[in-house]
């Protein structure tokens, strides 16, 4: 019997813990050509800002060992375009939409979140705290517990009570638990770990940075151990807070690793550029990995790595 991938968190009821990570699924249409978006857990949209954004100049991408350095600059249609075109399309395909919200000020986050919450059909909101804070000379909100908490409070205060709010944190901090605690105290229903790591590639031909914007965010399997460690650390400190784990998930086994570390859901990001049907494949592989270990329900193994050694092996008799 295949393992049950149903994932229930508070009001949320998802058919699978596998999601698409923010900014990696286009509008959903591009992905739908290769994957049934209704059958994956949910689509986390690219970050929606109030106004349309042209993004950063090209080149925006550079390949790195098992990773990708990117600096897209949140190109997108803005809130109006998203609500008129993209969200209705996702819902018409039966997808569950986790809408990622962005802003430059606490107020902008609140405004975007409030209008998204007013439009029917949104399943959850993810707060992209990686945006530069206009009030702090462009320092990302996620680097400062107080700034991150203020944004989460503004978003939580402007969305309907039954729409869960997830705060997406950056690994680029000394103490990720402090930021996590601040977000939870400000009303976050869950956390999303992790955003990209800062990185740079220099072109040996031009003697210049490979990206037009010099530095970018590193993602892909190269950062997976960092992400797993962040999920583990936060789960250890805040065992009751649901976590969306992301960072280089490529196979069902990778997803299993995040679940064991304490993530209740797993988002697939950069790997979608490599394999646009990755979500369906990972979902199938996860099912097989769980069945092979005699696990009936995916929820049974969330955070299992925090239990003492030997417990799992005794219970299930594998290894």
């Amino acid at each position: 019997m295949p393992a049950d991938l149903r994932t229930r968190i508070g009001h949320l009821d998802l058919p699978s813990p596998i999601l698409t990570a923010s900014g990696c699924a286009g509008t959903g249409r591009e992905l739908a050509q290769f994957t049934d978006v209704a059958r994956i857990g949910a689509v986390i949209t690219k970050s929606i800002s109030l106004e349309a954004r042209a993004g950063n100049p090209a080149p925006r991408m550079a390949e790195t060992p098992s990773g990708l350095l990117s600096s897209v600059g949140m190109q997108g249609p803005g809130l109006d375009g998203f609500l008129q075109r993209d969200l209705p399309w996702l819902l018409s395909r039966g997808a569950r939409a986790f809408v990622s919200v962005a802003g430059h000020t606490t107020r902008e986050y609140g405004e975007v979140a409030s209008r998204i919450s007013d439009s029917a059909g949104v399943t959850a909101i993810e707060v992209n705290l990686g945006c530069p804070d206009a009030a702090a000379a462009g320092r990302p909100f996620a680097l400062d517990p107080a700034a991150a908490g203020a944004v989460v409070a503004a978003v939580r205060g402007s969305v309907r009570y039954d729409i869960p709010v997830f705060a997406k944190l950056s690994p680029e901090v000394t103490d990720i638990v402090a930021v996590a605690r601040a977000c939870v105290a400000a009303g976050a229903d869950g956390l999303s770990l992790i955003n990209t790591l800062p990185g740079m590639v220099i072109d040996p031909v031009t003697f210049r940075p490979a990206l037009a914007g010099a530095s970018g965010g590193l993602s892909g399997p190269a950062i997976r151990p960092v992400a797993v460690s962040c999920v583990w650390t936060v789960r250890e400190a805040l065992p009751d807070v649901p976590i969306i784990g992301s960072g280089g998930v490529r196979t069902g086994r990778d997803a299993l690793e995040f679940l064991l570390a304490g993530a209740s859901m797993v988002a697939v990001g950069t790997v979608l550029f490599h394999d646009p049907s990755a979500c369906s494949r990972i979902q199938r592989e996860l099912e097989e990995e769980l069945s092979a270990r005699g696990v009936d329900r995916v929820s049974d193994i969330v955070g299992r790595a925090h239990q003492p050694a030997g417990y799992a092996a005794d219970r299930h008799g594998w290894i």
Binding site: G23, C24, A25, G26, T27, R29, E30, L31, A32, Q33, F34, E51, A52, R53, A54, G55, N56, P57, A58, P59, R60, M61, E63, P65, S66, G67, L68, S70, V72, Q75, G76, P77, G78, D80, G81, F82, Q84, R85, D86, W89, S92, A212, G220, P221, T270, V271, L272, F273, H274, D275, P276, S277
Partner: protein, 338 residues
């Protein structure tokens, strides 16, 4: 509404992801020509479209797909796809080392194909280096319609000119240029363009070349009032499917608004006068959503915002309030030829 979305691409046929078996790998001068059995891609293909291949095997550390314009498709083995590339960077080298019966993960056909004129027209096909490859499928299509095209091919040296012999065989005329003069005329295709255009009485130019050449070609063609359909190969694509937003360039829509469009889904074939060649690699200050950009007041602004997601040049009216698709994307409507 859904039909006007990009699910089906321009041809109304969605790309597929298949496991294709390598049939042949051979050296052609400085390039490698590879044929892969992929019936689902071959039957959907239209000239100008490309494929995206995963390189390095299942556990590859190279995450970006390599994209290649399709040289030609053939009906043997149910349908094969041929493409040509210089084996320079590590991903292409890995691919060049594949052998017959190896299996590749291939996505395609992708992108907007070359629009083909409704009536016979005098077409000049201009290609530089491996960029010439996609022009030959187009040439067959044009010949079927009774319009033998003229060729203008160029490269740095003789071994980098792709398809010179075929061009001479199937073209009404064929001009070859090389920078070092080792084949044909010494110089660049841009130098020979005025003569070629005048001799052939060209109605439309199809060009596939590096950005700098496309810019010069479009500037010259603009002076003669000849429309250009330009196939761009830069900025490099990472996914090929429109997901990553990496391959953007600024293009003006029919509504006069500049948008950052993706070469992979809105191109790779663009109308030459719609790409802002001088601004590639920048965000023009008047591009939709550029820092400080403000929507113009009135209904036009709402339409601009709504179509920003698609970013399709020429889709200014593509998604009107009632969701009706305009013919802005119909191939015949865009070439102005014939």
């Amino acid at each position: 509404m859904a039909n006007s979305d990009r699910d089906g691409g321009v041809g109304g046929v969605a790309p597929v992801q298949v496991r294709g078996t390598v049939l042949t790998v051979r050296r052609v001068d400085a390039y490698v020509a590879m044929t892969v059995v992929a019936p689902a891609i071959a039957t959907r293909f239209r000239p100008g479209q490309f494929i995206a291949i995963a390189v390095g095997g299942p556990q590859s550390g190279m995450l970006a797909r390599r994209t290649f314009s399709v040289h030609d498709v053939r009906p043997d083995h149910g349908g094969t796809v041929e493409f040509v590339f210089p084996p320079r960077e590590p991903g292409a080298q890995w691919l060049a080392e594949c052998r017959a019966r190896d299996v590749l993960d291939v996505v395609g056909p992708l992108g907007r194909p070359f629009p083909v004129p409704r009536d016979p027209a005098s077409c000049l096909l201009l290609g530089v280096g491996p960029g010439a490859a996609p022009l030959f499928a187009l040439a067959s299509r044009l010949t079927e319609r009774g319009a033998n095209p003229d060729f203008l091919l160029g490269a740095e040296s003789a071994d980098r000119v792709f398809g010179a012999l075929t061009a001479r065989r199937i073209g009404r005329s064929a001009v070859i240029t090389t920078t070092d003069g080792s084949l044909g005329a010494r110089g660049s295709v841009v130098d020979m363009l005025p003569t070629a255009v005048q001799q052939a009485r060209t109605d439309v130019i199809y060009a596939s070349a590096p950005l700098s050449v496309l810019r010069s070609v479009c500037a010259l063609a603009g002076r003669y009032g000849i429309p250009v359909q330009a196939l761009v190969s830069e900025p490099a694509m990472t996914c090929g499917t429109g997901l990553c937003m990496g391959c953007v360039l600024p293009a003006v829509g029919n509504d006069g608004i500049t948008r950052m469009v993706r070469a992979c889904v809105d191109g790779p074939v663009f109308r030459g006068d719609q790409v802002r060649w001088d601004d590639v690699g920048t965000i023009p200050f008047d591009a939709l959503g550029a820092p400080g950009w403000k929507p113009r007041p009135g209904p036009a602004a709402a339409a601009a915002g709504a179509s920003a997601a698609s970013g399709q040049p020429g889709s200014g009216g593509a998604t009107t309030a009632d969701g009706r698709a305009s013919d802005g994307r119909s191939p015949e409507g865009r070439s102005n030829a014939g």
